[in-house]
């Protein structure tokens, strides 16, 4: 049960060539800047755009095959999509929106409504079942859209920019819900986004799409270690740590990742432990030293400089520590410290600089 995509698509003057595989149990993030061809790819997977060449295969059944003249219509595919603008039906209540995919497939009204209501309840918007989309907040609408994508138990779950329409506060809550939904979804799951941060947090593996081509695939860490394009390098711009969060001493906690642990400030409203915590650190908050640094920084890691990328009067320095770190320093620091690839350095940052994403 997996998704195999190998297509060429021509829309007006735009050409898209995409080849990738998504296995169930992993979230594949399709990451690319605006105009890279993400929407076109979504349209192809949905069956709304027919590829000019190639094949799309989901769970053993052929959705598209130009050579074999196969094109499965959108309504015959088992795909659940959360659209970028949600596209909730404005004339239907939240409940009827969610029941729609079931009713369209001939499920009796009573059954469909019951299942819709149950799912809305599970996603925390049960009490809004009778509201129309115009009456829903951004976060509520997102939950309804998620419920509608899930209700018919599709083989492929496709989330198109699921967080982009939300304000910062709703974003944190919906991010955890999306993460949870993706983790528990049994089929193939795809996330489409232009936001490297969002992609890195929500995906197990990334497919980078630029100007209609796949430029790199790999885990977020693999791409961070060896970015092949400048867009991929943007991913490097985010230090992020995913792992288990435990309380340590007064006011601090430990974020235990597969590549080492870091000390973070302990937020007062957190439970004692959290299995799926994510910490984010800006490269600019990391300082580099040639000697073990003195001072108050709680996080100090030893490592070797494996890459220096200069942009303007600043440079991004990759340090091969555990965990892998990227620091942003001035060119002045580079020359003062005499940093070149291979230099052994100490990287340090304060616990409070690590932002914990709502788990």
């Amino acid at each position: 049960m997996s998704l195999h995509v190998d297509v060429e698509v021509a829309v007006d003057h735009f050409r898209l060539e995409a080849e990738f595989v998504a296995e169930p149990g992993e979230t594949v993030g399709l990451l690319g800047p605006n105009g890279a061809g993400k929407s076109t790819l979504v349209s192809v997977l949905a069956g709304l755009t027919e590829p000019a060449e190639g094949r799309v295969e989901l769970d053993g059944s052929v959705l598209d095959d130009r050579a074999g003249h196969v094109h499965m219509n959108p309504e015959e595919r088992s795909v659940g999509i959360v659209f970028q603008d949600l596209l909730l039906f404005p004339h239907l209540t939240a409940e009827d929106n969610v029941a729609f995919p079931l009713r369209a497939r001939g499920v009796p009204a009573r059954d469909a409504t019951d299942r819709a209501r149950m799912l809305l309840g599970r996603l925390g918007v049960g009490e809004r079942a009778n509201a129309r989309p115009a009456e829903l907040s951004g976060g509520e609408a997102q939950r309804v859209a998620l419920a509608r994508a899930l209700v018919a138990e599709p083989r492929l779950l496709l989330l198109d920019e699921p967080l982009s329409a939300l304000d910062v506060q709703a974003r944190g809550r919906i991010r955890s819900l999306v993460l949870e939904t993706l983790r528990t979804f049994p089929g193939v799951r795809l996330l489409v986004t232009h936001d490297p941060m969002e992609a890195a947090v929500l995906s197990d593996r990334l497919v980078l799409l630029e100007e209609g081509r796949v430029t790199q695939t790999g885990t977020p860490d693999e791409i961070r270690r060896a970015p092949r394009t400048s867009f991929a390098a943007d991913l490097v711009g985010v230090n992020f740590f995913a792992g288990r969060l435990e309380r340590a001493d007064e006011g601090t906690g430990r974020l235990v990742t597969s590549a080492g642990e870091i000390v973070v400030a302990w937020p007062s409203d957190l439970p004692e432990r959290s299995e799926d915590a994510i910490g984010v650190l800006r490269p600019i908050d990391i300082s580099l030293h040639l000697q073990p640094p003195e001072g108050s920084a709680r996080n100090v890691f030893r490592g070797r400089v494996v890459g220096i990328e200069i942009a303007g009067d600043r440079a991004r320095v990759q340090v091969d520590s555990s965990p892998l770190l990227v620091a942003e320093v001035t060119l002045g620091s580079i020359s003062r410290l005499g940093l070149v690839e291979g230099t052994d350095v100490w990287a340090s940052f304060k616990a409070v600089e690590v932002t914990l994403l709502p788990p």
């Binding site: 949905a46 959108p74 309504e75 659209f83 596209l87 995919p101 018919a152």
Partner: protein, 256 residues
């Protein structure tokens, strides 16, 4: 607002209001009940309602696919088709009636063979009245539906199809409900236009009481013999139109 402007604007209002006031004042109220209750008036009103309603519905049936084609597909001669569809709106109705005669009359393009082969005659039947009313009113429906279809977000229909909805289901549960305001507005406009239809009807369908004599035709006939009665019937038509406008304003034409 400058005084001169206000004066001219006032004249504009008077232009519409004075005839209406005249109608109300000149109505022979003592006889009004008898006139409106008379058999011929009631027959004409009933026929008018039947003809206008049938025309509006036939217009919707024919107009919807046409509006769909104009709004959503590309074909050669589309500009010509659109001009053709709008033509009945600007054409003098009596000319429309003559044109209908030459197509569907007993010796017409279609009417001739229809009569010769099947013995069917359209002219001077209630169907002629319906055809005449539909001819003049369905462009209003096509225009309303085309505007509606253009402003409808196609992505909603696409989204529906990705949820397993076959085409007819998308049409029934998404497209038509979203178009409901435009459908209603188009129906009411076409219905009102059909209700007032005179020229094409009298030319093509004739003036046969009980068969083709709709209310406007009855008003015209009564004017020769009983002006008071004609005025009372006119007031009835005005009232019906007025109710339609008020309904439209409230429900479909959002005014600020």
């Amino acid at each position: 607002m400058p005084a001169a402007l206000a004066l001219i604007a006032g004249l504009g209002v008077a232009l519409v209001a004075l005839p209406l006031i005249g109608l109300i004042i000149r109505t022979p109220w003592s006889r009004a009940g008898d006139i409106l209750g008379s058999g011929s008036a009631r027959t004409a009103l009933r026929l008018s309602l039947i003809v206008a309603t049938t025309s509006a519905l036939v217009g919707l049936l024919v107009g919807f696919p046409l509006a769909w084609a104009l709004a959503r597909s590309q074909f050669r001669g589309k500009a010509l088709v659109r001009a053709l569809v709008v033509l009945p709106l600007v054409m003098p109705p009596v000319v429309g009636g003559v044109a209908l005669l030459s197509a569907f009359g007993r010796r017409g393009l279609v009417g001739g063979p229809l009569y010769d082969v099947f013995g069917l005659q359209i002219t001077f039947t209630v169907w002629a009245a319906v055809l005449a009313s539909t001819f003049v009113s369905f462009p209003l429906l096509v225009l309303a539906l085309e505007v509606g279809l253009r402003s409808l977000d196609v992505r909603l229909e696409d989204a529906a199809s990705t949820m397993g909805a076959p085409r007819w289901y998308v049409l029934r549960r998404v497209t038509l409900p979203l178009l409901a305001p435009q459908i209603a507005a188009g129906l009411v406009l076409a219905w009102a236009r059909a209700l007032g239809e005179f020229g094409a009807t009298i030319t093509f369908a004739g003036n046969l009481p009980g068969r083709t004599q709709t209310l406007p035709l009855a008003v015209f006939e009564q004017l020769q013999t009983d002006p008071g009665g004609a005025i009372a019937l006119s007031l009835l038509l005005v009232t019906v139109s007025f109710v339609v406008i008020v309904t439209l304003r409230g429900r479909f034409l959002q005014t600020r």
